[in-house]
Amino acid sequence: MNLWFWILLACALAFLTKLAGYLVPARWMDNPRMSRVAGTLTIGLLASLTAVNTFASGQQLVLDARIVALAAAAVALLLRAPFLVVVVIGAAAAALARLAGMP
């Protein structure tokens, strides 16, 4: 139930953020710094989420089948595979690594 509260709050904030771009006078937001922070935040958060999902298990750092998924996904992206194919390759790599005995 508590999770619903945070989901709906995130949804409301997401909509208001988008709407702000249409309502706020252009000169307020026509600030190079604003665009730059929006961009670096996007890169930093996605890199951080990639790292957490690869190496973290609660508060512990672990090396398990997910590192194989990361490597396989990177190869697929280098070969310009579409997003959905990259995700499927990531899943298959982790599943196969576990079959081979990795934790």
Binding site: L19, M29, L41, V52, N53
Partner: protein, 240 residues
Amino acid sequence: MNYLQSPAVRVGLSIAVATGLYGISFGALSVSSGFDIWQTIALSLLLFSGGSQFAFIGVVGGGGTGAAAMTAASLLGIRNAVYGMQMSALVRPTGWRKLVAAQVTIDESAATASGQTEPIERRRGFWTAGIGVFVLWNVFTVVGALVGGALGDPAQWGLDGAAVAAFLGLLWPRLRAKEPAAIAVICALVTVVAVPFVAPGLPILIAAAVAGAVGWFGHGRMDQGLEPDVDPYVEEESDR
């Protein structure tokens, strides 16, 4: 006028199919991260911004709190305000259409509109990509949630590996220059160092603070990080 002859409409439709399809991966991962199907549907209908949705379920799936998930998702959504400002000038929606335009303002609709030069084509591109992605993303979210719910043990199917691949796939198109790649490496390192010392979810917010500081004090390109996951115009470029 046959709309299908409009280049912006064709680009918008193809981007809608490519992006909408990967709603399957969001739906499946959301359910395997412990969200029920209604919460999964709510995220796609109401939050509707792929990166933020994956961030929300990724933080909760990693043991973080709802508050940390909400914060990560909201920070990741700030770029949509920048797109909103650009679309306000390029598409110029009026009245109630502003509300609809805001909801479908995402990487893909903004990129489709920005890639056109004629005002009418920009408008067509924005609305076709925005509404097209919205419809297909939500349809395929439900499909993915049903598939994910039927799979059983997520680790056995490698769904934790799918999450890793999804985040790398979202990050990848934004790493076309040295500075964004450096920011990504620094933020990943900061995260890994922070994991043992703070509660789950917080390492991501610490990395966000570092990234925000780099953007605030740095002098990099203004539009770095503002690339769509699927570039609407990449195929046209390779055809040339």
